[in-house]
Symmetry: C2
Subunit: 167 residues, 2 copies
Amino acid sequence: MELQEAKEKFISTWGSLGTLWGINKAMAQIHALLWISPDPLSMEDIMEELHISRGNTSTNLRQLMDWGIVYKENKIGERKEYFASEKDVQELSKQIAKERSRREIEPTIKVLKEISRIKDDGSPQTKEFIQQTSALYELADTANTMLNKVVNQEHNWITKTLIKLIK
Amino acid sequence: MELQEAKEKFISTWGSLGTLWGINKAMAQIHALLWISPDPLSMEDIMEELHISRGNTSTNLRQLMDWGIVYKENKIGERKEYFASEKDVQELSKQIAKERSRREIEPTIKVLKEISRIKDDGSPQTKEFIQQTSALYELADTANTMLNKVVNQEHNWITKTLIKLIK
DNA sequence: TTTTTATTTCAATAATTACTGAAAGTTCGA
DNA sequence: TCGAACTTTCAGTAATTATTGAAATAAAAA
């Protein structure tokens, strides 16, 4: 397989995977492109490579920067802005875990906690409701706590130990 | 908060969370409804409660059954089919992890493995490509292995230990 | 076999989400 | 302060995805 072919395959795979997880195609593909690019790229470069419009590129670069996985870089003497992705895979997963926790998991936990505390009137409906929403709350809360510890690299040795043990 | 209000809040929250993760609203809401229902529900019951069409209900119940988190139940003497969700939170997360791994992570790993093995021609482009796709491959592979071990409950004590340690 | 009851399928349509391109905005050098 | 180079915004449109509802199918009862 040639580099060009492999590159296209990577970008397109990353794009569909993104879609599957609720991230739009352009955003995932821009990230893929920057991920494998040795040097920062300009907006023009990205538009050209992926055949997408200026507006689309601009919007999705902004989102990637909001996620903290793409940075602006300025070349001295150049007015144009260049973009580079976070290249460290640990840092990438850390950022993604962090953002997903903040945007999605935490708000859900809040709702689950609130609604699982309704007054128990003794009916089977209510009993089941409390039982099932509490179970979900505990699951989400534990998962989120673990995620954040790992993300904050507070217990790095545990992770390493676990990986060794579990393999 | 009254049960009815809490129920609606739960169903709607679960629906939006689903959407955010690439699962359609109806599917997530049907699951939410069954999750908190003490008894199995018929298609009519679901249609009525969620105000969705028969076709939509049928299609999404099928999907939930494909995911292995909803089951058909027959009441004796009744022609109608009833549906119940898996009620155990461990089993639920196990099923979801299993299906996501099978449908999404594994195919991605396969592609990453394949493309990260292109011949190194020494150019910076190629070097970066191999470096970055391999890193992603290793990350995905390790994560997937861990997920499956946990899912298969092969190392249950490790999980328990980890949770204790990490909290 | 025919009728009744229930479920599935799928073409048509609605709703949502993504993308374009040009106008407006910004920044910087002359 | 003006104008060139570049970026952002956003109304309009395209593409995708979800939903409906009715016809086809299936399965049990009469």
